[in-house]
């Protein structure tokens, strides 16, 4: 075994894991090579020296002064997420809740039909189906006084509404009266807002 091989193997932390034959060759080399003995002894001494090296301690007021330096404002962590969600919900409620409340308390006339092309008019608190108009489907009227002067080929649903039939007015289906449940009022409010918004945007686009 040459010196470089011996020195490399001798520095293994656990020489017992080496094959028996190799350990025997190492012992043989160590007995006959004084420089290698010295080399390994030096390295072992270095290891021991490092283990005994004087440690440096932190100053007595280290922790106290560190705590004073801790940042007061913290970054968002995962635990902040629910609070952020609550914040967003509160803002949404402010933005939409108030107009909805107004519309629920002071409802505006609103009409919807399964016939998308039906040209009904809303005038003040009245919804009018003009004489020459045919609504090919159901008509749902909210918070209005419905005047049918033309023809409705379907049912009419009156939600918190009244209706009158003109001389030429015809209704093929039934007239059903319904009342608003509290929750429906809010749904209606939201729907009304979106309709207002759509018509506003359409006006702005033109």
């Amino acid at each position: 075994m040459d010196c470089s091989k011996y020195r490399q193997l001798a520095l293994e932390q656990d020489t017992t894991a080496l094959p028996r034959g190799l350990v025997a060759a190492m012992n043989e080399h160590a007995c006959s090579c004084a420089p290698c003995q010295g080399y390994v002894a030096q390295l072992r001494e270095i290891e021991q020296g490092l283990k005994c090296i004087t440690s440096v301690k932190a100053p007595a007021d280290f922790t106290r002064s560190l705590i004073k330096c801790l940042p007061t404002t913290e970054r968002f962590s995962n635990s902040w997420l629910p609070w952020r969600a609550v914040g967003v919900a509160a803002i949404m409620l402010l933005f939409f809740g108030f107009p909805t409340y107004i519309l629920v308390e002071h409802p505006q006339p609103f009409v919807e039909s399964t016939d998308a092309r039906a040209a009904v008019h809303i005038v003040g608190q009245s919804v009018i189906v003009p004489e020459d108009v045919v609504v090919s489907g159901d008509l749902r009227v909210y918070h209005a006084s419905l005047r049918v002067l033309g023809r409705v080929d379907g049912n009419i649903y009156l939600i918190s509404s009244e209706h009158t039939l003109g001389e030429q007015g015809r209704v093929q289906g039934q007239v059903v009266r319904q009342t608003h449940l509290p929750w429906d009022k809010f749904v209606f409010g939201f729907r009304n807002i979106s309709q207002e918004l759509r018509s506003y945007l359409r006006g702005a686009w033109r």
Binding site: P35, Q42, I46
Partner: protein
């Protein structure tokens, strides 16, 4: 990680200042000692140790409670130490393979001992301290973690994010490099039966 430490870490993660202070008390000496060995200067070691704990505090949300705390702490410390040495001295090329003798020695601003320091270097501890500071920081780090901080190969591998075999190789070379420096200082004679020489 024992139960007490685990509980402290868990509470400190929830921004419990008292638990955090207890953790600092537990590790402050080890951190200062490690950073002193890396920088060679007490004041720098104190400042860096403070930075380490501040970084721990601000990044606690990113720490996985199922992992051991001390390797994470040492990893932060070694990163800050390397950054500090980069800023203060020359550039340390972390990606460069550590082989041969070229990167063995870390140049100090003045490597000549002052007259009053000579007496100190006559003992092994003084000689080792001086030689350590001349080593490449990456060699210095594995030596300090293994022999001064008494960490296992696996723990060092975890801290340095390298395989255990790399730690063993690096440690082997670091010991040899340190011995060479002690030979150059005149503390050892080159492999002649291990006879010890003092300076001059």
């Amino acid at each position: 990680m024992d139960l007490v430490e685990k509980s402290l870490v868990s509470r400190a993660k929830q921004r419990d200042i008292h638990a955090f202070a207890e953790l600092v008390e537990l590790y402050k000496d080890r951190m200062v000692s490690f950073l002193f060995r890396m920088t060679g200067n007490r004041e720098d070691a104190y400042d860096l140790a403070q930075d380490v704990f501040l970084k721990v505090y601000s990044n606690f949300h990113a720490f996985d409670s199922n992992m051991r705390f001390s390797p994470w702490l040492y990893r932060i410390a070694q990163n800050l130490a390397i950054d500090f040495l980069r800023r203060k001295k020359k550039i340390v090329y972390l990606d460069e393979p550590l082989s041969g003798d070229d990167d063995r020695v870390w140049q100090l601003e003045s490597s000549d001992p002052l007259p009053e320091e000579v007496a100190e270097f006559k003992d092994l501890e003084g000689a080792l301290e001086r030689a350590l500071l001349q080593l490449n920081p990456l060699y210095r780090m594995v030596l300090v973690l293994r022999f001064v901080e008494d960490l296992s190969y696996e723990e060092i591998a975890n801290i340095l994010s390298v395989p255990s075999t790399t730690v063993k190789t690096r440690l082997h070379r670091a010991r040899e490099a340190l011995r060479q420096l002690l030979v150059e200082q005149g503390y050892y004679e080159e492999s002649q039966g291990g006879k010890r020489y003092g300076l001059q």
